[in-house]
C-alpha cells in the first residue's frame, strides 16, 4: 500500500497523542477528588463537610429537658409557641456544658419592644404598644411575666409556631 508508505511521521504523532491522553487520564485520576460524581457533577463528600458545621442554636427540645418548670409556665400562656432561643439567643454551648457556660439574662426593655412596638406594618391581630405611652418607662416585667405575659387568667395561646 503506497498510501501508508510515508506514514511514519503520522504514526509518531498519533503515538504522541495517545501518550498525552494517557498522561491526562493519570493526572485526572490523581487530581479529581474520589467522591466527585458520587451523586452528580460535584464532590459527594462536600455534603458531609457542610453537615459538620457546628450548631449554635440548641433547639427548644434541648432546653426543655432541663427547664421543664419554665415549660410549665409557658405552655398555657401567650408565649407558648415562642421558642426559648427566640428571646434568650443561641445557647447550644450552654446546653452542651450547663455548669460553665451561663446565659445572660436578656434586657426586657429592648427585647419586648423589638416585637411589640406598634407599627402599621405588623399584622393587625398581633399585640402591639407604643412603649413610651404604654408603660411610662417602667420595665415590662413589672406587670408581665415574660414566659406567660398575659395579665388575666392564663390566656389561650393564639398564633405562633406549631
Amino acid at each position: 500500500m503506497s498510501v501508508f508508505k510515508d506514514a511514519g511521521h503520522l504514526l509518531r504523532f498519533a503515538g504522541l497523542f495517545v501518550l498525552a491522553f494517557l498522561v491526562f487520564l493519570v493526572v485526572r485520576g490523581y487530581v479529581v477528588p474520589k467522591s466527585f460524581g458520587q451523586y452528580g457533577h460535584y464532590r459527594g463528600n462536600a455534603i458531609g463537610e457542610i453537615a459538620a458545621h457546628p450548631i449554635q442554636y440548641a433547639g427548644h427540645q434541648a432546653c426543655e429537658t432541663c427547664h421543664a418548670d419554665v415549660l410549665d409556665v409557658k405552655k398555657n400562656g401567650k408565649h407558648a409557641h415562642v421558642n426559648c432561643e427566640a428571646c434568650h439567643g443561641a445557647l447550644a454551648k450552654h446546653a452542651d456544658d450547663p455548669s460553665t457556660v451561663k446565659p445572660v439574662l436578656p434586657d426586657t426593655a429592648a427585647l419586648c419592644a423589638r416585637c411589640h412596638t406598634a407599627s402599621a406594618a405588623k399584622p393587625k391581630g398581633f399585640p402591639q404598644v407604643v412603649p413610651a405611652e404604654h408603660s411610662n418607662g417602667m420595665p415590662c416585667e413589672t406587670c408581665h411575666q415574660p414566659h406567660s405575659p398575659g395579665m388575666d387568667a392564663p390566656a389561650t395561646a393564639v398564633g405562633g409556631a406549631k
Partner: protein, 243 residues
C-alpha cells in the same frame, strides 16, 4: 488479661450493639439520616411576620455570616393603592435590628422574609463551571467551598439575589437551609428563632408533614414563578407587588 477465642466471639457482637446505642444517643453523628427520604422546603407565612429580625440575627449567629451580608433578610413593603407596581421597599441592615415604625397612613405595609429558594431547577447551580455548587439529593442548594473558584457566575445567576462572595474566604456563600441542623433532626436557626411561626421548615417527602395540608388549603405562591426555577420556598399571603 488473655482473651480466648470464645470470649472474643461474645465480646465483639456485644461491643457492636453497644456502639449502635452510643451512635443513637448522639444526634450530631446523624447516622440515621437518609438523603433519599427528604425533600426540603420552607413555608413563609407573610401574615404572621412582624419584622423583628430574629431570623436574620439567628442566621448570622448560626452560620458565621459576615456583617453586611445576608443569607436571609427581611424587606418591608409599602404599597400605595395607585401605584402597585412600584412598591417602596426598605430593608435596613437586612432588617437585622428591626424596622422604623410605620405610621398608619392608609397605605399597605407588610414584611417579606427572603432567603434562598432552594430551587429544584436552580439557575445558580447550572452556571457553575467547576461543579462547586449543586442541588443535594435531599433538595438543598449547597456550595462546596473547597472547590469554588469565586468566579461569582452563580451570584449573577440567582434571580433572587441570595448569594454573595464571602469577603474573607473569597468563595460563594449562601443559605444552606441549616444543613448541619436539619440532618440532625433540628429545624433551621431562622425557624427556631422566629417568635410567631412565620417560617416553617417543611419536608415534602414526609407524608406526615403539615405542609401538605397547608399547601392544599391556602393560596400559596413562590417568588418569580415565571422563571420556572422550581423554587421551594412557599409564601402564604404573598402580595402581587412583591418581587
Amino acid at each position: 488479661m488473655k482473651i480466648t477465642r470464645r470470649q472474643m466471639l461474645i465480646l465483639l457482637p456485644a461491643a457492636a450493639v453497644a456502639w449502635e446505642s452510643v451512635l443513637a444517643g448522639t444526634p450530631e453523628a446523624s447516622p440515621n439520616y437518609k438523603m433519599a427520604d427528604h425533600w426540603w422546603s420552607m413555608l413563609i407565612d407573610i401574615p404572621k411576620c412582624i419584622g423583628c429580625g430574629n431570623c436574620v440575627r439567628a442566621c448570622q449567629a448560626e452560620n458565621d455570616v459576615p456583617d453586611g451580608y445576608f443569607r436571609t433578610w427581611v424587606e418591608r413593603y409599602n404599597v400605595s393603592d395607585e401605584d402597585m407596581t412600584n412598591p417602596h421597599v426598605i430593608s435596613p441592615d437586612g432588617g437585622k435590628e428591626g424596622f422604623p415604625v410605620a405610621q398608619e397612613d392608609g397605605e399597605k405595609y407588610f414584611f417579606v422574609p427572603k432567603m434562598c429558594n432552594h430551587c429544584a431547577d436552580s439557575p445558580c447551580t447550572q452556571v457553575c463551571p467547576v461543579g462547586a455548587t449543586f442541588e443535594s439529593p435531599d433538595g438543598v442548594a449547597l456550595v462546596d467551598q473547597t472547590y469554588c473558584l469565586g468566579c461569582a457566575y452563580c451570584v449573577q445567576a440567582c434571580p433572587y439575589g441570595c448569594r454573595y462572595i464571602h469577603p474573607v474566604k473569597k468563595v460563594a456563600d449562601k443559605c444552606t437551609l441549616c444543613y448541619h441542623r436539619i440532618t440532625k433532626g433540628l429545624t433551621t436557626a431562622c425557624c427556631e428563632a422566629c417568635p410567631t411561626g412565620a417560617r416553617q421548615l417543611a419536608d415534602l417527602k414526609n407524608p406526615k408533614d403539615p405542609i401538605h395540608e397547608f399547601l392544599k388549603t391556602h393560596s400559596v405562591q413562590v417568588l418569580k414563578p415565571y422563571m420556572a426555577t422550581g423554587a421551594k420556598v412557599f409564601y402564604n399571603g404573598l402580595d402581587g407587588s412583591v418581587r
